[in-house]
Symmetry: C2
Amino acid sequence: MSHPHPELSDPPAMPEGGLRIVALGGLGEIGRNMTVYEYGGRLLVVDCGVLFPETEQPGVDLILPDFEYIRDRLDDIEAVVLTHGHEDHIGAVPYLLRERRDIPLIGSKLTLALLEAKLTEHRIKPVTDVVAEGERRAFGPFDCEFFAVNHSIPDALALAVRTPAGLVLHTGDFKMDQLPLDGRLTDLPGFARLGSEGIDLLLSDSTNAEVPGFVTSERNIGPVVDEVFRTAQERLIVACFASHVHRVQQVLDAAVANGRKVCFVGRSMVRNMGVARELGYLNVPEDVMVDQKELDDIPGDRLVLVCTGSQGEPMSALSRMANRDHSIRITDRDTVMLASSLIPGNENAVNRVINGLTRWGARVVHKGNALVHVSGHASAGELLYVLNVTKPGNFMPIHGEWRHLRAHAKLAALTGVPDDNIVIAEDGVVVDLVDGHAEIVGAVPAGYVYVDGLSVGEVTETSLKDRRILGEEGFVSIVVGIDSTSGKLVAGPEVHARGAGIVNEDFDEVIERIEDVLAGAAGDAVNDLHQINQLIRRTVGKWVSDNYRRRPMIIPVVVEV
Amino acid sequence: MSHPHPELSDPPAMPEGGLRIVALGGLGEIGRNMTVYEYGGRLLVVDCGVLFPETEQPGVDLILPDFEYIRDRLDDIEAVVLTHGHEDHIGAVPYLLRERRDIPLIGSKLTLALLEAKLTEHRIKPVTDVVAEGERRAFGPFDCEFFAVNHSIPDALALAVRTPAGLVLHTGDFKMDQLPLDGRLTDLPGFARLGSEGIDLLLSDSTNAEVPGFVTSERNIGPVVDEVFRTAQERLIVACFASHVHRVQQVLDAAVANGRKVCFVGRSMVRNMGVARELGYLNVPEDVMVDQKELDDIPGDRLVLVCTGSQGEPMSALSRMANRDHSIRITDRDTVMLASSLIPGNENAVNRVINGLTRWGARVVHKGNALVHVSGHASAGELLYVLNVTKPGNFMPIHGEWRHLRAHAKLAALTGVPDDNIVIAEDGVVVDLVDGHAEIVGAVPAGYVYVDGLSVGEVTETSLKDRRILGEEGFVSIVVGIDSTSGKLVAGPEVHARGAGIVNEDFDEVIERIEDVLAGAAGDAVNDLHQINQLIRRTVGKWVSDNYRRRPMIIPVVVEV
């Protein structure tokens, strides 16, 4: 995905008084959310997240937005506003700050605390500015007002951006739990007030636009968690996201009610819950927490472990328990609860964990057989409320794959937004809001930037294509030493194969063929290295194809002696 | 998974008068079903299917049961009974017949016809014997009675196996649609009769044992399909499994009712529907079929394409349409219906197809938003009926992963089968039925046998591990020519890297390091090839790790000159 809209060309110059919106991530995918607003030559960035790789990106650690579009204009950035503390909204900030250290980071107290903990690991001390719902702050020409929204992490914000070009509401991720555990509702009255004022453009979370109805309240998970606690024979292990403070709170509450001690397992769980506790978002009663070192002293039926690994991550404690590759040996008296969503793409990994745990006899409670998870994103019913209350002049669905964006666009049309005022864009597409009308005017590059080990952007699509071929078919390498004047074979051929499923005993045959071909070539006075290279490649390729019906990577190495 | 029950050892000799049951596939996995029954030194094989690889088996085409357990006893096989025509039950037959051509294949008319069409492609003319429900036939000491069962392919059979050791009922795959389209019900009265006679051991399909309730009737899909036909603006494309005759029948019926012509697309769809039509399982009205060559002459709103690719297979017509890499160019007037299940592991691929089609504006109807698929496997409610009607003395859940086997075992316990008489086995586990009691007595190897291209079993776990490393990290190869007496470097080092994300410009640095190390080694009179090899490996490995924090495969090639 280098240039997603091949039919679109470079955008024209910004029209006087217009607002330009370019998403560098988050449109056409779920992840690496990053939207760049431009007015009067100044930039406001909303979110800067990562995307997690799929099997089509083997070996990649993270995928970043491509900063190329703003690279020459880093000094024009007034601020980066972070709507909440999830990785797909804050995870790329360390990489952006490498390009300019002092970009002001704006966000709620918890969001910035989680981000700062992460930046400390990158040894970056950022410039930050805490905001809260109800506040209104100007960053250059961008007059921003913040609104509380309810999501699967506390302290999430929506923001309204006022410029002379108009009023834009950017929801960030949200849902509308009407009985949230912390009492912090999505600010529908605030949205309504903006609607009365006149919203020129609404950008709203599309993740669950295909799902009819309403998301069940987080509160309804409580009784189910409690029931699992009451019926757990001995040890109880709960896996969930390391940022889901409210979910962990419910587990803590149930632990207290059922007389169990709690132990956090996993680096990110320990770190995030430490931050949340310190800032007062997580209420931890006295004497309930125990350290991992103390586990042996506590009977299984007095204990609950809260860990990461709910997505089947192979190196997580949970996966290792499922494989009996962990000091905690699962038995048929253990209960494991996966209190989390199943992120698309992780189905196999999670299934493997469930089967592994089940094999040893553990009872596994998961969203497939109990109400132990609710989504953090508004369903279609909730999205309709927002559309009807905000009555936007123009609508642009964000945060979703094509299927979600299209479904959300359809909802907008049903509430009366004219088709002509609904903009379905993907990453890199340039949208201008001019004279109250939003439209697509061009596109800029917004390809994937891969983080692999220490390098950023050095692993390219070509490397990945090589990896896919190597990973599917392996390789055969052929080393020959050639006399530089006569072109005669003086060393080798040495044939090596890995992952190709070809056994060493078979090599004699192909070595003989290469020798014949090279002897013929020397007779014809072929001593061009490239030609010899091609001869070997063709000979070996044909041999593998005829004998094995496979296509490994063929790597001739011709050394002149 | 080489020996799944490490705590189990080789089984003891068969006790006199006992029946031995060994599943070589299908237990602990969904696929490659194959069960070997042994009585009095003779063998009866039920099913012989393939398993489709996951991402953990890169490049593999198919996974077969390991025939090692029966390889020395091929002449003892009285027959292979095929319960129905799905790949996971018949797909490995061509490979078994390579080991002994004249093993009699027993199955229903459609099952054998589909198998013979497949065997023709392998240029094998098998020995076959058609059976039907209600028939009773002896194969050596195995007195077999066949029963109709309803499944997602017509003409499926269960079988009862009578030997002096007792009566065994093996359901094969089934569900209990009470209003099946072809009127062919699962023979519950027959099962009840066996129950009265006294079933010593029941082996029953566990796929949906975790799913509460009952599978909706296939018939209920009809009105939904019809509605999609009526509301499709122009072209309609239906993707489903190439063996689901009843599903295709419903599409054909809707096409006739709505005045559309039908075109089958895809080799397996054309082949299987040809077989089904010839044998009378598919009713094709006059003049409704058109050939792919005629498509251009038919307006989109008079046409329906029925194709494969419902699992997002990358090379299928449907995937290529979604990528605009097909002569059929999807537009916003097209409707696509995925009338199939989503096989676990294919979620990403299918999601990609849905997003691709949606991007071009097509309306996509799938099981997530309409009742266009029902499962072929009995849910818990149906399984309880079978358990209560058959009242088995012993119970062994088959056809499922651990989670499904355990769930089915729990259902059996709820209906009154004593825990001690419930046998949860996985592949290779040896179960003996002696004196009316079934129990695990040992295990035999039942690992994966990989088909890759033309070879069977030559791609090993080691090859796959190599592929996984190459696929995640790529490789760096270093070729040096060494003087055979002095150990001095006379050619190279030549460094090549693929998939490692290392650019050629970086090689100078590591080449210098290798030269230094080799010069030192020559000084120390190191001329052992293995040692030089190790020196290079360590030098390059450390350089990559320090500079890139990655671990590609390092491949030194030392050529003596």
